[in-house]
């Protein structure tokens, strides 16, 4: 460490030199950005060195956003209080710059513009341009990167994500789950501890704790396997990989995934600039961005709540499995929800002047439109409903609520969406699909309601179907295929009763303590319902209050809008089928969690003459959240047994379905190369994901791997789970059916034309 003082002197000297470099009328533009841009160029050029790669990552996350926010005249103090503005703005700049490079490149003779040098040239034009727009901004708009971190020793929570990365690798290598359990325990301890100490901690320190904890939890999922993990992310990754391979993205008639720049242009650009394997952008990069989502909830909360309540709101988000297990499996929504948080932060920021606020909301709104359609639709709906509700609940003598920015935000996103989804990419099929579903099936009010069941019970139970038996499933798919897919001709021998489908046991751990597991499951359900009830109470109280902070009342109306959207998705079977309700829940929870914490804060404030309400209410809430976390994370599974979670075990339902291995990759590639253009392929529900991730085999792929539906000239992809565990799945209306893989039938009537020992391909 002897050289450190010299380093500090060099740093000061370089600053002084840069200040001298831009004298006169440029003095209002801080010269540090020039130094940072040069450093970015060097880091990107030498990104094969890990150190420079890390520098490139940090600069790409901060520098473009810094310059854009200054150009928009966003006060540095506002950004310090709401850090997610910065990465959101950086994402917006990177998306726009990359898109321009992509479109302008070919006419200039650059046929693969999404490569390192064209993109770097693009950034070297865009960033000085933004700096020029920021010309004249006073010192109050200059954000220092160092202001975002605070003390160096506060950085210790960032060790948690590191531990998660190692934990996931150790688990992959079969070296046990002790470290993963340790990470979960650390987060579990953090919840009540930080709730208790919140009012004694610095805001930036809490940001780091929330960021480190949230990211650590997500990495336990996303860093499993060398490939992407999850369902949707398989197709998402394929589109990213294609963009990377082609080095260009084209507008035109695209499917919704291809039209999302958050899945194509942006990650391809990040990959070109940062280096490494493209898969790391989704496995590590996007979770690192999305980990700012609970930080955003906390930062928004600190504007009008006690620090303790704001932390509790963020903790409500973090403990949800939807947040840390489901979202890392949906890359497009990770990015979109972060931008959504940025939009909400700006709309609810009373420290911003009108034009900077509208400027930022518009920039982020357009970025959201090009990154994810369904988050956009929900955000537009929320803005419109909240504005209408705010106007409706406004009473005489009460303070007026600022609804104009909400209307403008909705208008900007709607107009951008129409332009982007219709003439630019022709990717509006998602909207037409919903419209078609509604036309065909109607709204399907409470489709799971049983005969004689009351409406409230049916609402809480949600859509349900009676469990299907293997024989029912077999018969129903055989009938359906025979009626609708006459071009598929199964073998006559398939009707032999020896090949009837049989149920398989789910790959669970032995039930060590069923009573504890049952109590925990009930407690988790109770906690979730309590949180929901608290959200309803919070939204109603704050939206309908006659007095109080206008910001809080506006959040109350957004909360009611969120509840209305959630209720619609719960009541209508058609809407529930068209958009995953858990993803919708997480988006709405960003606002609802704040209202829940605000309600408790209100009670504590009203009873401030007593000392017990604060510790009791927030202590109780943190304990409830702890119970929810233990249940949702699977932390109790080593004790209770049952379905083993993917973040802790190398077996179980999620592992069998979602965990790809090298043999499956090789098998998928071989299949793609071997099959003729006119062919029929069978891969079960999860086997299809391997084809989605590694190949472009999308059409004429059937998921019902049953003797009575398999065409006699087809190709059958058998995954590791099919071959080694003899397990497959039957997709039914009541969920997935665990079935024995029909190996005896396939062995008897098909050739095994390819094998790795753990995977096979059948054909005849």
């Amino acid at each position: 460490m002897a050289g450190l003082p010299e380093l500090a002197v060099m740093n000061q000297a370089s600053r002084a030199w840069l200040q001298r470099l831009v004298p006169g009328r440029w003095t209002t533009i801080p010269a540090t950005w020039i130094f940072e841009l040069v450093l970015l160029d060097v880091a990107v050029a030498g990104h094969s060195l890990w150190l420079l790669r890390a520098v490139a990552v940090l600069l790409l996350a901060v520098l473009p956003g810094q310059l854009l926010l200054r150009a928009l005249r966003m006060p540095a103090a506002s950004i310090r209080r709401y850090v997610p503005y910065l990465p959101c703005a950086s994402v917006a700049v990177l998306v726009a710059t990359t898109l321009v490079v992509d479109l302008v490149g070919p006419p200039l003779g650059v046929h693969e513009p999404l490569r390192q040098w064209p993109l770097l040239i693009g950034l070297n034009l865009a960033l000085p341009g933004l700096a020029r727009l920021g010309h004249g901004a006073t010192a109050s708009f200059e954000l220092k990167s160092s202001d975002l971190i605070g003390r160096a020793r506060w950085l210790w929570p960032l060790l948690l994500p590191l531990a998660s990365v190692v934990a996931a690798a150790r688990l992959d290598n079969g070296e046990g789950n002790a470290l993963a359990i340790l990470v979960l325990v650390a987060v579990a301890v953090m919840i009540p501890t930080c709730t208790a100490l919140a009012d004694r901690m610095h805001r930036r320190q809490m940001n780091l704790i929330l960021y480190g904890s949230g990211l650590a939890l997500m990495l336990l999922t996303s860093m499993r396997s060398s490939y992407v993990i999850g369902f949707d992310i398989n197709s998402e990754y394929f589109d990213l990989h294609q963009t990377v391979v082609n080095g260009i993205w084209h507008m035109g008639h695209l499917n919704p995934y291809e039209a999302m720049l958050g899945l194509t242009v942006l990650p391809a650009s990040l990959h070109a600039l940062i280096g490494g394997q493209d898969v790391w952008i989704f496995k590590l990069g996007y979770p690192a961005l999305f980990a700012l989502f609970p930080v955003a909830a906390f930062s928004l909360g600190t504007r009008f709540l006690s620090r303790r309540a704001a932390f509790a709101a963020a903790a409500i988000v973090i403990v949800q499995a939807y947040y840390f297990q489901q979202q890392p499996e949906i890359a497009r929504q990770e990015l979109a929800l972060l931008i959504f948080a940025g939009i909400m932060g700006a709309l609810l920021d009373s420290s911003l002047a009108r034009w900077p606020q509208l400027g930022l909301v518009s920039v982020l709104g357009v970025t959201l439109v090009v990154c994810h359609y369904s988050t956009t639709y929900i955000t537009v709906l929320l803005c419109l409903l909240a504005s209408i509700l705010a106007v409706t609940v406004r009473r005489r003598k009460s303070t007026r609520l600022p609804v104009l920015p909400w209307f403008i935000a909705a208008a900007v996103m709607t107009i951008s969406a129409v332009i982007w989804y219709v003439p630019a990419t022709h990717s509006g099929s998602n909207v037409s699909d919903v419209a078609q579903s509604l036309r065909q099936s109607g709204i399907q009010l409470l489709p799971g309601r049983l005969k004689g069941e009351n409406v409230i019970s049916a609402y809480f139970n949600g859509p349900r179907e009676r469990p299907t038996s293997p024989s029912q499933y077999e018969l129903s798919v055989a009938t359906y295929y025979a009626a609708h897919m006459r071009y598929l001709v199964p073998l006559a021998a398939a009707k032999n009763s020896a090949y009837n489908l049989r149920a398989a046991s789910p790959p669970n751990l032995p039930d060590h303590a069923p009573l504890v597991a049952s109590v925990l499951a009930d407690a988790e359900l109770l906690v979730q319902q309590s949180i929901n009830a608290l959200a309803v109470g919070g939204a109603l109280v704050f939206a309908l209050r006659r007095r109080g902070h206008p910001l809080l009342r506006m959040i109350g109306t957004v909360g009611i809008a969120s509840l209305l959207i959630l209720a619609a998705s719960r009541l209508s079977g058609t809407l529930a089928a068209d958009y995953n309700s858990s993803r919708l829940f997480l988006q709405c929870l960003f606002i609802l969690a704040l209202l829940e914490a605000a309600l408790l804060d209100l009670v504590v404030t009203r009873l401030k003459w007593r000392s017990w309400p604060g510790p009791m209410l927030f202590g109780g809430l943190s304990l409830l959240l702890l119970v929810a976390f233990v249940g949702s994370s699977g932390l109790a599974s080593p004790v209770t047994g049952g379905n083993p979670p993917l973040i802790l075990y190398n077996n179980g339902g999620d592992y069998a379905g979602f965990y790809p291995d090298a043999q499956e990759e090789a098998t998928a590639h071989w299949l793609a190369a071997a099959v003729p253009p006119q062919r029929v392929i069978y891969a079960d529900y999860f086997g299809q994901l391997r084809l989605d991730q590694f190949t472009n085999l999308r059409t004429a792929v059937f998921n019902d791997v049953t003797p009575r539906t398999i065409d006699q000239h087809s190709w059958i992809f058998a995954s590791t789970t099919n071959v080694v565990d003899h397990l497959t799945w039957g997709p039914t209306n009541s969920g997935l059916l665990d079935l024995v893989f029909p190996a005896s039938f396939l062995d008897q009537y098909f050739n095994v034309v390819y094998s790795t020992g753990s995977t096979e391909i059948f054909h005849r």
């Binding site: 450190l4 890990w50 160096a152 320190q205 620090r307 090298a662 090789a666 790795t756």
Partner: protein, 159 residues
């Protein structure tokens, strides 16, 4: 310094400890530089961070679209299969072609192939198949692995 004061700082008092930041940045830089060296890679491997992929073999029919379904009248068949060595080192594979019968498989041919890392070896073998039923299954397998491919052949109708 107590544990609490080290990990949790009192509210809203932020001194500018520039030296600390430089020290942390320098430490991270040194760690990243070292991790990319051979020593660093060994450390990563020791803590279980690196993910070594288990080598495996791909066994397949290169002509999977045009496999015969009937045994020629001569009972002899030219069978062609490939072995790809997916792994970092050269591997010797002991392969066997057999005919599946009611009880034990009947060996028809066997051999050894030495396949370099990430390369493929194609074996062409003329075998004689003994038709003991209306149709027979030819099995190709590799010792010490579970990899196997099979081919069903209808026996000539004269039998």
């Amino acid at each position: 310094m107590s544990t609490q004061s080290f990990f949790f700082r009192a509210v809203d008092h932020v001194a500018p400890p520039r030296n600390w930041r430089i020290a942390v940045a320098a430490t991270v830089a040194i760690v990243l530089l070292v991790l990319q060296t051979g020593l660093g890679q060994s450390v990563l491997k020791a803590v279980g961070f690196s993910r070594p992929t288990e080598p495996f073999v791909e066994l397949y029919f290169p002509n999977a679209r045009t496999l015969p379904s009937t045994l020629p009248a001569s009972d002899h068949l030219n069978i062609r299969f490939a072995m790809s060595n997916v792994g970092p080192t050269t591997h010797a594979f002991a392969w066997q072609v057999s005919e599946k019968t009611g009880n034990a498989p009947l060996g028809l041919a066997s051999g050894n192939s030495v396949v370099p890392a990430n390369r493929t070896d194609v074996v062409v073998q003329r075998i004689r198949v003994y038709c003991s039923a209306r149709r027979v299954q030819v099995l190709i397998s590799i010792e010490h692995t579970s990899a196997r491919i099979t081919l069903w052949l209808a026996c000539p109708s004269s039998r």
